[in-house]
């Protein structure tokens, strides 16, 4: 059974990288839909089921400017993946758990090192096997860190910052993390006991699906100044982690989609899709979800921090040198499933907005007041994980993103093939051997993990990144090629 059909609505080209779904198409749309997409990627976007969802999001109360989607758009629950929508808090703007996703603060962290590809290549298989043993997936059994209920509450309130007091994070790590690894005004009491139980033994675990830890090499530098400022040069080895808030975040999303089921009707809001349940940001249920979502986001930052702690320890043991002497430093950590209250200029006036980024990454430019001092001159690093066969990217935020997309850009390659179709295509093949033939060592725990995540299941990340670069939403800094992949 086909679950999506080609987009049937009107779509008008604006320029080489932008398309409009006019609000005149549907009576319930409050703003236009704007799709960032090149000619090369438009068919995937129109066939992927996400464009109808861009129009659905355009119906949300308080939405300003446009319902936007990035070139990695594909179908999601309620909002499309790759969706960006901002609502005006003082004009009854809503917050929707569907605009954040089940994996709250799914995101990416990148470490650079002084190691070169030549240093690592001869022992790569051994290194990947060691990382596979040490990086806990947390599927079925928990990770090595056990936190009491009281400690979980501190993680929910303090995120990575709490881990500094435990010797598991440094001030340098926090400075190289979006929002310093902690959203203020998180409300641990708004997180259910079930969510805390589901997350208690999963802090410091990768999870399954598209999450991974990778050994990579800087393959090409596009922007020498930014790359140099962040310690990146061609031939150097980097380490990337992609994961989120694990079962705790999934449960928070589920709890609030359930809790908000009857709320839209109470506020006179009519929705085209039950997955878009929402509440005004400035209402008791809206504030409660925001507090719980921030707590789950803090849990995710702590989760990635703990994984990096494990990674550093493994690398130090493996190479027989300290993490410092290996030059292991955090380039940055970004969230790509989150809603944040930010001030942006709308129609010439500064407005307090609730910016939903679901499968989209913040891309603040040089000089932005929310960036840590180290990034004020360059702009914010933007980390784009690709598929395990091709490449990942480091970009930098731009003024163009502030002008067009509330400081947002794409988040990855974006799926084009269903998991079932990917498994069918992998039948009779050994994906690990195919990757090994091109020099990439991949390990996965699940029976179907590598088949579902095979490179062909994704859009070409080069094309996705080229589009946001050309559209002025972020600029290319460096391309990273995978050498070793550990899947949960």
């Amino acid at each position: 059974m086909a679950m999506t059909k080609k987009f049937q609505g009107p779509i008008e080209p604006i320029d080489a990288n932008r398309w409009r779904i006019p609000k005149s198409w549907r009576a319930d749309m409050r703003v236009d839909g704007i799709l960032y997409c090149s000619r090369e990627l438009i068919d995937d976007a129109l066939n992927g089921g996400g464009c109808d969802q861009v129009a659905n999001v355009a119906t949300l109360p308080g939405i300003v400017t446009a319902s936007m989607a990035m070139p990695d758009i594909h179908w999601g629950y309620g909002f499309p993946i790759g969706g960006v929508a901002a609502t005006d808090v003082e004009a009854g703007g809503v917050i929707s758990p569907g605009g954040v996703g089940y994996d709250i603060n799914c995101g990416v962290r990148l470490l650079r090192s002084d190691l070169t590809a030549q240093d690592v290549r001869p022992r790569l298989k051994e290194l990947v096997d060691q990382l596979f043993r040490d990086m806990p997936a947390g599927v079925g059994v928990g990770g090595p860190f056990q936190f009491s209920g009281g400690e979980i509450a501190k993680i929910l309130a303090g995120g990575s910052r709490y881990l500094v007091s435990r010797g598991l994070a440094s001030e340098e790590d926090l400075a190289a993390t979006e929002s310093g690894g902690c959203l203020d005004d998180a409300d641990p009491d708004a997180v259910s006991k079930e969510a805390c139980h589901r997350g208690a033994d999963q802090c410091g675990t990768l999870g399954s699906g598209n999450h991974f830890a990778e050994v990579q090499v800087v393959d090409h530098v596009f922007d020498r100044d930014a790359a140099e400022a962040w310690g990146l040069a061609e031939g150097q080895v980097t380490f990337m982690i992609h994961c989120g808030s694990r079962g705790l975040g999934h449960q928070v999303c589920e709890d609030y989609i359930r809790a908000l089921r009857t709320v839209p009707a109470q506020y006179g809001i009519t929705l085209p899709d039950r997955q878009l349940v929402c509440a005004p940001v400035d209402s008791p249920p809206g504030r409660q979800y925001l507090g719980a979502m921030r707590a789950a986001a803090n849990f995710a930052w702590a989760n990635r921090q703990l994984l990096v702690h494990i990674l550093r320890a493994t690398l130090a043991r493996f190479f027989g040198r300290s993490a410092e002497s290996l030059g292991l430093r955090q380039v940055y950590d970004v969230a790509h499933n989150i809603a944040k209250l930010e001030t942006h200029v709308v129609d010439g006036l500064p407005r307090k907005l609730c910016v939903h980024r679901k499968g989209a990454t913040r891309a603040f430019p040089a000089g932005h007041g929310e960036l840590a001092p180290a990034y004020r001159k360059t702009g914010q690093p933007v980390l784009i994980p690709g598929d395990m066969g091709r490449a990942s990217y480091v970009l930098v935020g731009t003024a163009g993103a502030m002008e067009q997309t509330f400081g947002s850009t794409c988040h990855g390659a974006g799926r084009v093939m269903s998991r079932q179709a990917a498994i069918a295509r992998a039948r009779g093949r050994r994906i690990d051997q195919e990757l090994a033939a091109v020099g990439i060592i991949a390990r996965a725990r699940g029976r179907t993990g590598l088949a579902e995540e095979q490179p062909e299941a994704y859009k070409d990340v080069d094309a996705v990144v080229e589009c946001v670069h050309q559209a002025g939403l972020s600029r290319k800094v460096a391309r990273l090629k995978p050498m070793g992949v550990v899947k949960g």
């Binding site: 059974m1 679950m3 629950y77 139980h197 589901r198 999934h250 359930r258 269903s418 179907t448």
Partner: protein, 140 residues
């Protein structure tokens, strides 16, 4: 056969469609199908049991809550599922006994995690032939 289920294709995730003679059997089929996406029930012994019970504002919402409750048993308690027996299925009140055993890495091969049971294209309905049909999509 009184009940059956099959996985269905979906752009990003996984779904199930089930058919059964009764609502109770339909929910059993969906819950067992969901458990199979995580770990084959054939490798799980029905050595212990858990109970789940939910009440919601309508039948479809109750079905999502019911499957979410079974998922919670798997995810929170690391309890693998062999079989689900629905005891009550009256309108929007559902309860069941879930038979299985604690996760044992030596015995149970996990295929994937399920993040959540969703409302997308959700359908729980009785057809004109009197048989029940259910469709549910899971976020992976």
């Amino acid at each position: 056969m009184a009940k059956s289920y099959e996985t269905i294709d979906h752009p990003a995730d996984a779904g199930l469609e089930a058919r059964a003679d009764t609502l109770a059997e339909l929910l059993e089929a969906l819950a067992e199908g969901m458990a199979e996406l995580i770990c084959p029930p054939s490798s799980v012994a029905p050595a212990a049991w858990r109970t789940v019970a939910v009440v919601a504002e309508d039948l479809e919402a109750a079905a999502v809550d019911f499957l979410s409750a079974v998922l919670k048993v798997i995810q929170v308690e690391h309890f693998m599922v062999a079989q689900v027996s629905v005891r009550e299925a009256t309108g929007n009140a559902l309860s069941a006994e879930v038979a299985g055993e604690p996760y044992d890495p030596a015995k149970h091969e996990l295929a994937r995690e399920i993040k959540a049971v969703t409302y997308h294209q959700l359908k729980i309905a009785r057809g004109e032939d009197g048989r029940w049909f259910g469709r549910v999509i899971f976020d992976l």
